[in-house]
């Protein structure tokens, strides 16, 4: 899990063009990382590509923090978070 988390955070940092140090589990996409809805979709597309998972739009809706995104990816990969 820590490995997955750091991988997800790295991809999010790259996609949202923010320093990795800001991408912590508690960081909120909109408020803390200045990500709009398209930024978020792009980040999800990158995560899908990296981890070979599919994340439906309705499951993205509740995701507000980096930690939640990690959980979502973990659940899609069948890894307990």
């Amino acid at each position: 899990m820590p490995e997955l988390e750091s991988k997800v955070c790295k991809i999010l940092a790259e996609n949202l063009s923010v320093p990795e140090s800001q991408v912590t589990p508690k960081a909120r996409f909109q408020e803390d990382l200045d990500a709009d809805s398209l930024d978020l979709v792009e980040a999800v597309l990158a995560l899908e590509e990296e981890f070979g998972v599919t994340i439906p739009e309705e499951e993205m809706e509740g995701v507000q923090t980096v930690g939640q995104a990690v959980q979502l990816v973990a659940s899609k990969m069948g890894v307990g978070a």
Partner: protein
């Protein structure tokens, strides 16, 4: 256009008419072109042969725009053989004229599925690659019928007006990522699709068209090629009439 990368275009409904002419116009500007076809592989191969004779790169790709699986498969093939699609021309179109009061639900669905849903499915499949590249061109081939109604074309004009709405919303969604989404609205152009029109209806269109003649597929294709090119980067969400003045 991304540096040092061959730009790949996919044109749907490209075995003849405006789609075919668009493939040739794009191939002439140096793009590698996927000639999308559904029902007419011979026509698509003819387009490919013409593009190659011009020194261009082209392949024929079977794609039924109404079917997600077919769309995904076609994009996969283009990606494998040419590269990721940077220019998408949603041209596949369908029309069966008839007065609304007696128009069959199946005809309505067929029209909307090809003209509108098909463009959406292709666009949705193309966007992730374009977003990643921070560059893309989408040109939707709508119709003058999207802007002015036509008796007997309720389904067709509704689907094409829908395509204009799709164009404008998409332009706003992805315009910040180097992607443009525009629509062209051809008037009466000589193609297989307009052949079934009665002589009377042709005459009526001719009278309404200030140019006093019908357009050619090439005249529409050159506008599409411009919108798909590097010089049109600041044209986004535009609805460009190519109709000899029909909707002026």
């Amino acid at each position: 256009m991304p540096e040092g990368e061959r730009t790949v275009a996919l044109v749907t409904g490209a075995s003849r008419g405006i789609g075919s002419a668009t493939c040739l116009a794009l191939a002439r500007t140096g793009l590698a072109v996927a000639v999308g076809y559904r029902s007419d592989p011979e026509g698509a191969e003819e387009t490919v042969a013409k593009a190659r004779a011009d020194g261009g790169t082209a392949i024929a790709v079977s794609i039924d725009v109404r079917d997600e699986v077919s769309v995904d498969g076609a994009f996969g093939r283009v990606e494998a053989e040419l590269g990721r699609v940077r220019v998408l021309v949603n041209n596949a179109g369908y029309t069966r004229d008839g007065l609304a009061v007696k128009y069959a639900t199946e005809q309505w669905d067929a029209t909307v599925e090809t003209n509108l849903t098909g463009a959406f499915l292709c666009t949705r499949r193309a966007l992730p690659g374009m977003l990643k590249a921070r560059w893309g061109r989408i040109v939707n081939v709508a119709s003058a019928a999207a802007l002015r109604g036509n008796a007997g074309q309720a389904a067709y004009s509704a689907s094409k007006a829908g395509l204009v709405g799709l164009t404008k919303s998409l332009a706003r969604e992805v315009g910040g990522r180097g992607i443009t989404v525009n629509a062209v609205c051809p008037g009466f152009v000589h193609t297989r699709m307009t052949e079934p029109q009665s002589e009377e209806s042709r005459q009526r269109y001719l009278e309404m068209t200030p140019a006093g003649r019908f357009g050619t597929p090439e005249e529409v294709a050159s506008v599409i090629a411009f919108l798909a090119g590097p010089e049109a980067g600041y044209v986004n969400g535009a609805v460009v009439s190519v109709d000899g003045g029909l909707t002026a």
